[in-house]
């Protein structure tokens, strides 16, 4: 177990605190705060945390990157920090350097999945977050030379779709002979499911962070809000609900933290990583649903308004639990793996670390 780099954590927290005030963002969703905040994150080296220094990044430990994302989740701020970290991680895997500026990434699937022919990318990707905000997109695509990690500029591509539940954009991006900015062969160390696994671990970490914030906000509110002549925190029914919320927050933190720690120490994404990431995505997704419901119940009608900050967190929880595989999808995969191993291998799998 390595000690967390508290400087990185404190720096990230301070930047979000100073420049990402949730009430200011609600008042001006597309405002100037966005560029200012991004610049601060970039100058602190946080946006390319997972890109080695030689490739233009900060080259921090895998775990430190997850810690950055836990803090970001706690602030639920609408900038593509997680997506840029993931895109940088993917580019670095193929030995590529990463461009500055916000990035996003995509998983192609089906008959119209993007492919590279004669140096140009064509095809469609769906469910892309922050496509409007990002300058570049990273993905794995077929090419004349086999599977490649590709970096493509989003300017000039067709971006369609709505805001998604998080409000951060959830787009279908169509590439029509788009210029490939850079590309690199997919290394042997990058398995077909690895982007999905890393993405799910990242979303789990963000959800754990957001859930902690949801708990803090709900506890504070329950202590302040008066009903029947006393703070609602004094009612046992409310206390029991908040205790359940704390349990969900704890489960999310433990599951996401355990998955991140496993990735930090894994040489490759083996079955242990699959169990950890699947469990983390399933359990944090469940916590997101149960936790958001309790938090809203505690807040009453106030938490349902667009001026209260609670929805910034709960809407992202709703969106993040769908990204990189929902609870149901991961559970079906995990269940099939457990069943396939046979009943007597269930315990050895669970107790493998």
């Amino acid at each position: 177990m390595s000690e967390p780099d508290t400087i990185i954590i404190d720096t990230t927290d301070r930047i979000f605190r100073d420049l990402g005030d949730p009430q200011a963002i609600i008042a001006d969703p597309g405002g100037a705060w966005k560029a200012t905040l991004w610049q601060a994150l970039e100058e602190a080296g946080l946006t390319l945390a997972w890109v080695p220094e030689a490739q233009g990044g900060a080259g921090v430990e895998v775990m430190d990157g997850f810690d950055i994302l836990g803090v970001a989740g706690r602030h639920a701020v609408a900038v593509p920090l997680a997506e840029t970290l993931l895109a940088g991680w993917l580019l670095a895997k193929a030995g590529m350097s990463a461009p500055l500026g916000p990035m996003t990434l995509a998983l192609g699937s089906g008959g119209d999945a993007p492919s590279v022919r004669a140096g140009k990318l064509s095809g469609v990707v769906r469910g892309v977050p922050f496509a409007e905000d990002a300058d570049h997109l990273a993905l794995v695509a077929d090419s004349d030379d086999g599977r490649q990690v590709v970096c493509v500029a989003l300017a000039g591509c067709t971006i369609a779709g709505g805001p998604g539940m998080a409000g951060d954009g959830l787009a279908t991006v169509t590439f029509d002979n788009a210029d490939v900015v850079s590309s690199g062969a997919v290394p042997n160390t990058l398995g077909a499911e690895d982007v999905m696994l890393m993405g799910a671990a990242v979303r789990a970490q963000q959800m754990a962070g957001a859930l902690q914030a949801v708990l803090d906000i709900s506890v504070d509110y329950a202590k302040e809000r008066m009903a029947f002549g006393r703070p609602i925190a004094k009612f046992q029914a409310v206390q029991q609900n908040l205790a359940r919320l704390a349990g969900e927050v704890a489960a999310a933190a433990a599951a996401a933290g355990s998955a991140a720690d496993t990735i930090q120490h894994a040489e490759s994404f083996d079955s242990a990583v699959f169990l950890e990431v699947a469990a983390a995505k399933i359990r944090t997704g469940e916590a997101a649903g149960a936790g958001a419901a309790i938090a809203h119940q505690v807040h009453g009608a106030m938490g349902f308004t667009d001026e209260h900050i609670l929805h910034r967190y709960t809407q992202r929880l709703f969106a993040w639990r769908d990204d990189f595989g929902s609870e149901a999808e991961w559970a079906a995969g995990l269940g099939a793996m457990v069943a396939g191993g046979g009943a007597d291998q269930l315990w050895p799998l669970v107790a493998s670390r």
Partner: protein
């Protein structure tokens, strides 16, 4: 380590089990395989069997796996909480018959270590570690359960007993009292004060062979015979059997809870039904079955990681009462729901009759013991009260 260094965050650090714990796991598995192969217990029928098995406990004691964190002078091995964790979970995973020694190993021994006079420690602790000494817990009474501090069974100073005490009153729901050599019980030594209603209770070590103790069995709905009412009538205990501070046992009781509440037994008590569910579903379950099984495994994995984390905190010398309460709340609610989930998921299982024979045999038991899982050792409501206090709500 993913602890976000900000105030108030709920922290469950990802503790990794050290290599010595994994070596020990291999030894424990080999031992259990030997026991099963020799027909000394059968994981498939063990949940239905009487769990009190002194021979098994003696063999576990010979391996040095009872009281293994205790100092060597008292028969312990001075091993870590994480090593003890591994032994505990491996035993639970195959429903090994641990009841004869488990209570003493988990909580009675640690209480004696902390509060008993040296002579008593030297006498009793080595016997516990050899698997020869069985304990029960005397907390609940007919009129006080969750409200522990309403306990009314009395311990009074007596001239007849040379500075000792005389016990009168009734304890109830006392698991394994009929087999226990000793009880550690909570008795009222003076009245509660207006300022502190927790004042006035003291903890005593009671030799169950002392005259004046009647043990009356109480049957339970699942067919178990391990519940008892224990009635004390002018039962004399020597002065040195008072454990810790007179009138101040409430302070001792709370630190005990972290040990009692965070172990793997708090989510593995119905684990056998998950294993048999996997067997009943077979190696190629349909999507509904796979999804259901996957969720259960994800939830179990998370509980286990939380429990390992709490044991890491114990190892570091902390008293994680809040974290332990969270694990017990989530764990007991989960293991209570597990039999019902298994029942649902098995409804359309296409597996062979052989594959589900054990499942069908064990499911009624699991469904019927489920209600007690969120009551014993601190109810859901009490645990959530403790968590709410930890959140600063009360």
């Amino acid at each position: 380590m993913t602890g976000i260094a900000m105030s108030g965050a709920i922290q469950f650090d990802p503790v990794r089990l050290p290599p010595e714990a994994e070596e020990l796991r291999a030894e424990v598995r080999a031992f259990l395989a030997e026991e099963i192969a020799a027909g000394r217990f059968d994981p498939k029928t063990a949940p239905m069997a009487d769990d009190h098995n002194l021979d098994f406990s003696r063999r576990v004691g010979e391996r040095g796996w009872i009281g293994m964190t205790w100092p060597k002078q008292y028969g312990g091995q001075e091993r870590s909480f994480l090593e003890r964790y591994v032994v505990t979970e491996e035993f639970r995973a195959v429903s090994a018959p641990v009841r004869a020694h488990f209570t003493a190993d988990r909580q009675s021994g640690p209480i004696l270590l902390k509060y008993a006079p040296e002579a008593i420690k030297m006498d009793i602790l080595p016997r516990i570690t050899r698997g020869e000494c069985c304990f029960c817990i005397g907390m609940s009474e007919p009129n006080s359960g969750s409200d522990l501090f309403a306990a009314n069974a009395k311990a009074a100073k007596s001239e007849k007993t040379d500075g000792g005490y005389v016990l009168n009153g009734t304890k109830v729901w006392t698991t394994n009292a009929q087999n226990a050599d000793y009880m550690i019980g909570l008795f009222r030594t003076s009245a509660a004060t207006e300022k502190n209603r927790r004042h006035g209770l003291s903890q005593f070590l009671v030799d169950m062979k002392t005259p004046g103790i009647a043990i009356n069995p109480i049957g339970n709905m699942a067919g178990g015979k391990d519940f008892n009412e224990v009635v004390f009538t002018d039962c004399a205990v020597p002065a040195d059997h008072l454990l810790g501070e007179v009138d101040g046992a409430w302070k001792q009781a709370t630190s005990e809870l972290a040990y009692e509440r965070s172990g793997p037994e708090r989510f593995l008590e119905t684990f056998y039904i998950l294993v048999e569910l996997a067997r009943a579903l077979g190696e190629n379950p349909d999507t509904r079955e796979a999804e259901g099984l996957g969720r259960l495994v994800a939830q179990l994995h998370t509980l286990r990681r939380m429990s390992v984390s709490v044991n890491g905190m114990l190892q570091a010398g902390k008293e994680p009462v809040l974290e332990g309460s969270i694990v017990k709340d989530l764990g007991t609610v989960w293991q209570q729901a597990l039999p019902s989930r298994a029942r649902d998921l098995s409804a359309f299982a296409a597996g062979s009759a052989d594959d589900r024979a054990v499942f069908d045999q064990l499911l009624p038991l699991a469904l019927q013991i489920a209600p007690k899982l969120t009551i014993q050792g601190g109810t859901t409501e009490i645990l959530r009260g403790i968590i709410a206090r930890g959140l600063g709500l009360r």
